[in-house]
């Protein structure tokens, strides 16, 4: 069993017990424990089930590479699936449950899959479930989906109670990894005075050296670490951050840092996670190395662990993963574990080492001296056990697995050698080189990621760079630190150098293991990928490493293959008879380990999810029950329903009140762009299809704008303020777009023209006073002459209304007598209230966008976005009157000369009236005879706007119809959504209301 030792544990505080629950049982650990160490201390070795076969799974590692120990963490709104027990710091009241089993961890129905394993080889689902066809959707897939997924999904109505935030940091050097390499590299870089940020994903500095010891600068590693941290903390140009992981490296020195502020103290104030967006000139990745498992049969049994992890649990947490631990290693480092276990008073029945040494290297000798039996040239034939390893079978490594003896044990510590963590190096294009001597990929300094200046911007330090011994690590780190700030190399602090015998790569143990053993030798624990699966993939021609990965799902689990990639790759290259470097690795992608979606979204939630743009009258709309319509980021009132009124009833009331009395519209969102300069007229002539330069001062003119591709993009009224100043109104959506459009042409095409523009949209509240009684209302406000004589239709005037400075435009989008009044935004609400006050007895009625739409449709005015959709040219809309024939050029003119644009076959704008007076369905198409070559019904037109007209008490519509204007009076057939039900409509003049335009010009 696994237990807490009586003494030891450098990271735990035995005076501070912590209570937590696992699968609803209360357990206790100590402050400083991880959930994993605490579980082991409580003899909870089996903590989950594998993805495919639901095999029992135990804790394998002690850090971010853990593939098995994933738990549902937390309750209710704080529930979080797939949390790694090895990186979860223990806190009081922690609640965790194991995953992917039913009904229970110990008894799991899904485990039947393990019995069927031979029937479920790699890629089996590509070969099965093909017949009968409907079964995939209705039977096979539902079953597969049922068993899919690991962690429990949060409740659908969950609202995350925690907050998240972002932070931008700009530094000269970012060091990722707080082991001795990171510390030394940071120190070396900081000496130059550069701005240095050092981040470490765990809560502790020092990395492996703090566990494995050694002497640096004549002092024990741990003391050196403490001292160095102190030094760095004392430097004002250095920032240190623990619990902050380097998640991803992007172009131009952009790095994501994932800081977990409160995961270890859920009740604390402030954000749970902070996503750092770091911009750095140089990066040093001191991300260490990860130990590899060894592929032998039964290597997935709970109790079979990485040797370094076993060591970590003993040294850091005073936890013994087992009472009798067999060490299996193909390199010297594994012996450290044997020695550490012995030192902790635990039994180590044997170290099994496939190598044979003439002279024992120091660590081997040390182990023997400690009385540990060392079996050279030997291998593990298989590990035995069920929910926990009970023993191993020893065999000759060179053989096929014939049993030489059995050794009982409850823990197996395996070391297959180390793999540098090269993820961050690779994210932005860094390439790797195969180091045959050490049997691992290391960063290829000749192929480093390059930055904006084309020079390398990522450096690697320490074991991440392939240096496994303290002395070399420190020297490499010193170099990296100095190089990153352009300094000469310099000797690093001295450390005890060690002699070690070379690793003997072992990709399958024993070397000649047969199929039965290979089918039980795991590569990817979580996804249940075995040696035999990779070999099958190779046999079937999946020769690219990417093919094999996807076919077998090797390395596609939540650990992204941190343990399995190299072993799997080696098996593949062996099966293909190629060298490992030829086969190559899969691509490393961000993030290094999974990061919360909350952190990615940051502050942007609820009220500040996205900006809401508000007009000066917004508050009044809100207070008066406006139904909102989002228009871009603006909110515009759709209508103002009164008590007991439906939206439709409200719209009808608003239309009638406006047509018969006076209505009030908040038009503040309309774009207002000032264009000034001696070339302003010339510029607007290019921008609009109309001739604007001839517009007299004091007058207004409706204009159309097209894209260079010929399509109608915006419309609005232009007012000439003085000889060289125009005010251009745009649609609500157009304001920013058109202003940018103007600046683009001015800056990039006609930069010698004398024109300045300014977007004054938000300087003014613009309020439309509309209806037969509009003049009366304004006259009551007083301050300026708004009579027909003083201010005729399509003119503007400056003055004051009710003592508020105002610019009044006599323009109409409703067909009624109408004034659009622009007042300073700061006084918009005042003006609005004033109108309501003095207009009360006139029945003044605020109206929303829907009434606006209805009234403009009754008048046959087009609406950008309804009559236009990016494929419509002004000529389609009967707007030729607004296209100047006098001009040689305007933006879009050339495009409109293309064959398809001038074709007689284009659909053109008409009015539509159903024969029965009903309202045509929105978006309906008019059918023509026959079908096209693809069997689709032929069409001859479509509805662009359709409304019930309260004024005419019938349905009215506009639409684009093939050759429409020439077909007045003709009846065409539209089809409803079902594609069958017919609606007959007559083609009519689009101006349904006041065709002569008398009402607006009074």
């Amino acid at each position: 069993m696994s237990t807490r030792l009586a003494t030891g544990g450098r990271l735990i505080d035995r005076s501070k017990p912590v209570r937590f629950q696992f699968n609803d049982t209360w357990l206790s650990g100590f402050e400083g424990d991880t959930l994993a160490s605490a579980l082991l201390a409580n003899d909870k070795v089996m903590v989950g089930r594998s993805f495919k076969y639901h095999r029992p799974r135990g804790i394998v590692a002690s850090g971010a590479e853990e593939p098995n120990a994933l738990v549902n963490l937390g309750k209710g709104a704080r529930h979080e699936p797939n949390q790694r027990a090895t990186t979860t710091e223990l806190f009081d009241g922690l609640y965790a449950t194991s995953q992917n089993h039913w009904p229970s961890l110990e008894f799991d129905i899904g485990a039947i899959n393990a019995k069927l394993a031979r029937f479920l080889p790699a890629g089996f689902y590509y070969k099965m479930f093909i017949h009968p066809r409907p079964f995939w959707k209705h039977i096979y897939e539902p079953f597969i989906r049922q068993s899919a997924g690991l962690g429990r999904a949060p409740d659908p109505e969950t609202r995350d109670p925690d907050t998240y935030e972002h932070f931008y940091a700009y530094v000269d050097v970012l060091v990722v990894g707080g082991g001795v390499a990171g510390l030394q590299a940071a120190k070396a870089a900081a000496k130059s005075g550069a701005r240095v940020l050092l981040i470490e994903q765990t809560a502790h500095w020092g990395g492996r050296a703090a566990v494995d010891g050694g002497m640096v600068d004549g002092q024990p590693a741990r003391d050196w670490i403490a001292a160095t941290v102190k030094t760095l903390e004392g430097m004002e140009n250095v920032t240190l951050r623990t619990r902050c992981m380097g998640a991803g490296v992007y172009d131009h020195g952009y790095v994501l840092g994932y800081e977990r502020l409160n995961d270890h103290q859920p009740q604390a104030d402030g954000p749970r996670h902070r996503l750092w967006r770091i911009r750095t000139k140089q990066i040093i990745t001191a991300t260490g190395a990860i130990e590899r498992p060894i592929s032998f049969a039964g290597n997935d049994l709970p109790g079979v662990m990485l040797a370094s992890a076993v060591r970590d649990y003993v040294v850091n947490y005073g936890v013994a993963p087992g009472e009798r631990t067999v060490v299996v290693t193909n390199n010297d480092d594994g012996y450290r574990t044997a020695i550490a276990l012995k030192a902790a008073g635990l039994a180590v029945p044997a170290v099994i080492d496939p190598r044979v040494h003439a002279i024992d290297p120091p660590l081997v000798a040390q182990a023997k001296a400690a009385g540990i039996e060392v079996l050279m040239g030997r291998a593990v034939a298989k590990a035995k056990g069920g929910r926990r390893v009970t023993g191993i079978v020893v065999t000759a490594h060179s053989g096929e697995g014939a049993a030489l003896r059995e050794i009982a044990c409850d823990c197996v510590a395996m070391s297959g050698g180390w793999s540098p963590v090269v993820h961050l190096w690779s994210h932005c294009g860094g390439k790797l080189t195969w180091d045959a001597h050490h049997a691992f990929f290391r960063p290829d300094p000749a192929k480093a990621p390059t930055g904006a200046d084309g020079a390398p911007f990522v450096h690697v330090a320490g074991s991440a760079n392939g240096y496994l011994f303290l002395k070399d690590v420190l020297q490499d780190a010193e170099n990296a630190g100095r190089v990153s700030v352009g300094l000469e190399r310099d000797p690093a602090p001295d450390a005890n150098s060690e002699h070690a015998a070379p690793i003997h790569p072992v990709w399958m143990m024993p070397a000649k293991a047969g199929d039965d053993l290979r089918a039980k030798a795991w590569l990817d624990y979580q996804n249940d990928v075995k040696v035999s699966d990779v070999q099958l993939a190779a046999r079937e021609g999946f020769e690219s490493v990417e093919h094999t990965k996807r076919y077998t799902t090797l390395g596609m689990a939540t650990d992204q293959g941190k343990l399995s990639n190299i072993n799997g790759l080696a098996i593949l290259s062996d099966a293909l008879g190629e060298d490992i470097p030829q086969v190559g690795t899969t691509t490393f992608r961000p993030p290094y380990t999974p990061i919360s979606m909350g952190a990615i979204a940051g502050q942007a939630r609820d009220e500040i999810f996205q900006p809401i743009r508000k007009t000066p009258v917004h508050a009044w709309h809100e207070e008066n029950g406006a139904v909102w319509e989002p228009v871009g980021q603006w909110r515009r009132p759709y209508c103002f329903p009164r008590k007991g009124e439906s939206k439709h009833q409200a719209v009808r009331r608003e239309v009638r009140a406006t047509r018969n009395g006076v209505g009030l519209l908040d038009a503040s969102t309309l774009g207002k762009i000032v264009v000034k300069g001696s070339d302003a007229g010339r510029f607007l002539d290019m921008l609009y299809t109309n001739l604007m330069s001839t517009l007299p001062v004091g007058k207004c003119r409706y204009g159309l704008m097209c894209t260079e591709n010929g399509f109608l993009t915006d419309d609005g009224v232009v007012a000439r303020l003085d000889e060289d100043t125009f005010l251009c109104h745009t649609t609500t959506g157009g304001a920013d777009r058109i202003h940018a459009h103007m600046e683009e042409w001015l800056q990039t095409e006609w930069w010698d023209w004398k024109v300045y523009t300014a977007n004054l949209t938000e300087q003014y509240a613009q309020i439309a006073v509309v209806g037969p009684k509009a003049r009366v209302l304004l006259e009551r406000l007083g301050g300026m002459d708004v009579s027909k004589e003083a201010l005729p239709f399509m003119q503007w005037a400056d003055g004051t209304l009710g003592s508020i400075p105002a610019r009044v435009f006599r323009i109409s989008f409703s067909g009624e007598l109408s004034y659009e009044v622009a007042v300073p935004a700061g006084r918009g609400r005042e003006f609005w209230d004033l109108c309501l006050h003095v207009g009360a007895d006139l029945g003044i009625t605020p109206y929303g966008t829907e009434a606006l739409h209805v009234m403009r449709a009754e008048k046959g005015f087009i609406m950008i976005g309804d009559e236009t959709d990016g494929t419509v040219i002004p000529q389609d809309l009967g707007l030729n009157w607004a296209i100047s024939k006098k001009k040689a050029d305007y933006i879009g003119k050339r495009a409109q000369e293309r064959s398809h644009m001038t074709s007689a076959d284009r659909w053109q704008l008409v009015g539509l009236e159903t024969l029965d007076g009903s309202v045509l369905p929105d978006g309906a198409y008019a059918v023509a005879d026959g079908r096209n070559a693809n069997g689709q019904r032929n069409t001859q037109g479509r509805v662009t706007s359709t409304y019930y007209s309260p004024t005419l008490d019938k349905g009215i519509a506009m639409g684009l119809v093939h050759n429409g204007p020439a077909r007045m009076g003709e009846v065409v057939v539209f089809l409803k959504e079902d594609g069958e039900t017919k609606v007959k409509a007559r083609i009519v003049n689009p101006v349904f209301y006041d065709p002569k335009g008398e009402k607006q010009d009074v």
Partner: protein, 180 residues
């Protein structure tokens, strides 16, 4: 927000800030005079913000300045500039009502801004007297440092509530970064 924690910095809207946009040739004497005349502040050079009390001139772009004056003076000041620039190719617009302004006060203003804007807020890079137009989360905004402990942020009027929400969230108690 729990008791015992202070906001990182004080965030308060500046109720009525006068602001005038000028576009023109900033090297032209007439332009300089017109602007410095009404502002009573020296001409700023590239990315500078010059201020005296509540009056300031902000460098907005190679051909644009923003003049800050008390709101009640803005209309007149704009008129004065216009007449001063009569016959010269320039554009003067009173945008007092088109913008919202906020003042951040406290010794962690750099941190609060660094949560929202992709800008190097280190004292070495961003010093009092500098102005920067950029992005605060999802909206265009600008800010300048009056002094080490006072920043002034401006954005469009329509997103004032959003900006206020951003700044207050960034200054939430317990969210100190402790970076600068």
């Amino acid at each position: 927000m729990s008791e015992g924690f202070e906001e990182l910095c004080r965030v308060r809207p500046i109720a009525r800030q006068g602001m005038i946009t000028l576009r023109g040739d900033l090297s032209a004497k007439a332009v300089k005079n017109a602007v410095t005349g009404v502002a009573g502040v020296d001409m700023p050079s590239r990315r500078e913000a010059r201020h005296v009390g509540e009056r300031a001139i902000l460098w907005m772009s190679p051909d644009e300045l923003a003049v800050l004056v008390p709101h009640e003076e803005a209309a007149v000041a704009a008129e004065t500039m216009r007449s001063a620039l009569a016959g010269i190719h320039a554009l003067v617009a009173d945008v007092s009502d088109a913008r919202a302004h906020f003042r951040l006060e406290g010794d962690t203003i750099r941190e609060v801004i660094a949560k929202l804007a992709p800008v190097d807020m280190s004292p070495a890079a961003m010093q009092p007297g500098m102005v920067r137009r950029t992005r605060f989360a999802q909206v265009a905004a600008g800010f300048w440092l009056r002094d080490e402990a006072t920043a002034q942020v401006f954005c469009f009027r329509s997103v004032a509530d959003y900006m206020s929400g951003l700044l207050r969230t960034a200054a939430t108690p317990g969210s100190a970064v402790g970076y600068f």
